[in-house]
């Protein structure tokens, strides 16, 4: 019996420490489920992720196998017997299967490019805001140049130099998208670095690296998460736009922007080829926007309206 008391005491400690956190999570989850916008956004994003991860099992046909007899076959819901739920494209490939596989490109480009932008932007923002002076001046002038350079022209120029392709597209979107992150983080750092706990850390001799990484970065995470979610939506649109112009993903890979570009030619005879990839883009982007809006309300009470 004697040993029981300390044991139960030990068991209590993590319980006490855990309860508020798990309760907070439960509260967040409850708010998420009760918010129709967040729920719809979550479901849309989840669907896109599911499409991307499980495409070989979900796609009814091989996305690259065409059959000329089923060229521009109409969707099966219009009474067409070819058996393509959303119809077929100009070389008889199943549209639904290509849309399911296309989710991979959109999500991969969206997430990877935003991750790159966030890493560059957060680093620049932390350094510029924390050190100030000429470092700040130089970095912010670079940001100005970036803002004054119309993105689409920069993208076209870079693609003309290095050629098109998935990796280059991610690089272009990632490298050009950091300014938003940089500015937000810099602004926050300017305020946070004057706070007492940062001064305290400095007075006990913490290194700049430690102050930035341990005391400042965790406190600027909320706007970064919100901006990342909303930027994924923007970059999915930009990827589709560049691929549509023939400057993005290789045409042989199923991508929503590429499908739209193909379908545009047949708009007067086969409306479905350009329509459904566009719906896929819209729903995925809508999902990330809804999720981003909810996250902003959750994480950043200052921005709540």
């Amino acid at each position: 019996m004697k040993t029981e008391a300390p044991l139960s005491m030990n068991a209590m400690i993590p319980l006490v420490a855990d309860t508020p956190k798990s309760k907070e999570w439960q509260r967040v989850l409850r708010r998420f489920v009760r918010n129709p916008g967040a729920l719809v956004g979550g479901v849309l994003v989840l669907m896109a992720v599911l499409f991307a991860l499980a495409s070989p099992w979900l796609a009814p046909f091989d996305p690259n196998a065409g059959s000329l007899t089923e060229r521009l076959a109409a969707p099966s819901f219009t009474g067409e017997a070819a058996g393509h739920i959303l119809g077929a494209d100009a070389v008889g490939r199943d549209l639904l299967s290509r849309i399911i596989y296309g989710a991979r490109i959109s999500l991969f480009v969206g997430i990877a490019s935003v991750a790159l932008s966030a890493v560059i932007g957060v680093t620049v923002g932390l350094v510029a805001g924390y050190f100030g002076g000429w470092v700040d001046d130089v970095l912010m002038r670079i940001a100005d140049i970036k803002l004054a350079f119309p993105f689409i022209l920069l993208a076209i120029l870079v693609m003309a130099i290095f050629g098109t392709g998935l990796g280059k597209l991610i690089l272009v979107l990632g490298v050009t998208g950091w300014v938003g992150f940089g500015r937000i983080v810099r602004g926050q750092v300017l305020t946070i670095k004057e706070l007492e706990y940062v001064q305290a850390a400095r007075s006990i001799g913490a290194t700049h690296f430690r102050i930035l990484g341990k005391h400042i970065l965790p406190n600027v995470m909320s706007p970064i998460i919100v901006l990342s979610t909303l930027s994924i939506a923007t970059n999915i649109l930009l990827e589709a736009g560049l691929t549509f112009l023939g400057l993005g993903v290789d045409p042989s890979i199923p991508s929503w922007g590429g499908m739209l570009a193909d379908g545009r030619i047949y708009i007067s005879t086969a409306w479905w080829v350009a329509t459904f990839p566009g719906v896929a883009i819209m729903l995925t982007v809508l999902g990330f926007n809804l999720l981003g809006d909810w996250l902003r309300d959750e994480l950043d009470p200052n921005l709540r309206v």
């Binding site: 916008g37 002038r141 670079i142 100005d144 140049i145 803002l147 004054a148 350079f149 119309p150 993105f151 689409i152 022209l153 076209i156 120029l157 870079v158 003309a160 130099i161 939506a233 649109l237 589709a240 736009g241 549509f244 112009l245 922007g257 739209l260 379908g263 545009r264 708009i267 007067s268 409306w271 350009a274 329509t275 990839p277 566009g278 883009i281 819209m282 729903l283 982007v285 809508l286 926007n289 809804l290 809006d293 309206v305």
Partner: protein
């Protein structure tokens, strides 16, 4: 005020200098214009290539080419297009009208839709109207504009045959491109107007105005909207770059003869002077718009004194 404008213009010059460096070297990395000129005409001899490079001034060292380019730019000479030997400035100006017409028509459509939707959404917060407004704006920002353009062509040009599908031949050719551009922009704009209006509507001076018995529409338009305009206008200024991007894509969809198509063709042709000139002019316009927006603040909100350092 004047010193503020001068300082900003000086700042603009520095940024333009940075852009000129980037575009000058970047376009030279895309490939050799001499080779591009022989595209599809068989393998050119080395002598022929050298001759063309010499004629285009590309045989000089890079730094010398850059100094010549900057020197010419400072005297207002943007050079001559490699491709069709016409002055770059003239080529750009011929196309600029079409691009600006589309851009402003797009903004006009956006303002026409976004202001009523945003204001009503904020004033009737939580109502059916608000829900409609919010869904409208969210869907608006989630569309790719070129897809909307294709759908509009499908409905109004192919099926109903009310409007032309593409070209540039009068007012009816402007309608579909302007709506494609404007609808997307109106989504973002309506969201912003709604949130800025909501911020303002909670202020004490609004309560005071209402308490004084000022008519509700006067409170909304004169007191609330005027103050909600600042973030809205800033945003419109910042969106000008994105708007240009939208215009470039829509110019392709609607065969609209604007600067966007000119630049894309120039990059593909490795037409260095034309690319350099158009990028610099577009960037300069973008910066002028932002300066203009900053100057507008002073008019909308007289409390904002430009040029004073904030402590």
């Amino acid at each position: 005020m004047l010193s503020y404008v001068v300082r900003r213009l000086f700042h603009t010059l520095i940024v333009l200098f940075g852009i000129s460096l980037i575009v000058f070297f970047a376009i030279r990395l895309t490939g050799d214009p001499a080779v591009a000129m022989f595209q599809g005409a068989g393998e050119p001899s080395k002598e022929a290539l050298d001759q063309i490079r010499k004629a285009l001034g590309l045989d000089k060292p890079l730094w010398q080419q850059y100094l010549l380019f900057i020197g010419d730019m400072l005297t207002g000479d943007m050079g001559v297009s490699f491709r069709n030997q016409q002055p770059v400035l003239q080529l750009i100006m011929e196309r600029m009208g079409a691009t600006l017409t589309l851009a402003f028509a797009g903004i006009f459509v956006a303002v026409l839709i976004a202001f009523p939707v945003g204001i009503l959404s904020a004033v009737k917060r939580g109502s059916f109207m608000d829900m409609f407004g919010r869904i409208f704006s969210l869907i608006g920002i989630s569309f790719p504009n070129f897809w909307l353009a294709i759908m509009l062509i499908l409905i109004f040009a192919v099926n109903l045959q009310w409007l032309p599908a593409s070209g540039y031949n009068g007012f009816e050719y402007l309608i579909l491109p302007a709506i494609s551009l404007g609808l997307i922009l109106s989504g973002v704009l309506a969201r912003l107007i709604r949130s800025s209006m909501l911020d303002v509507l909670h202020q004490h001076y609004i309560r005071t105005a209402r308490a004084k018995g000022v008519a509700e529409w006067v409170v909304i338009i004169r007191h609330a909207l005027r103050n909600a305009l600042i973030p809205t206008i800033t945003f419109l200024g910042l969106q000008f770059g994105a708007l240009l991007g939208g215009v470039v894509i829509l110019e392709q969809v609607f065969s609209w003869p604007g600067v966007g198509r000119l630049v894309i063709d120039a990059i593909n042709d490795r037409d260095y002077p034309l690319v350099q000139g158009s990028v610099l002019i577009l960037a300069f316009m973008l910066m002028l718009v932002n300066l203009f927006v900053d100057l507008l603040y002073g008019i909308i909100d007289p409390r904002i004194k430009l040029g004073r350092e904030r402590s």
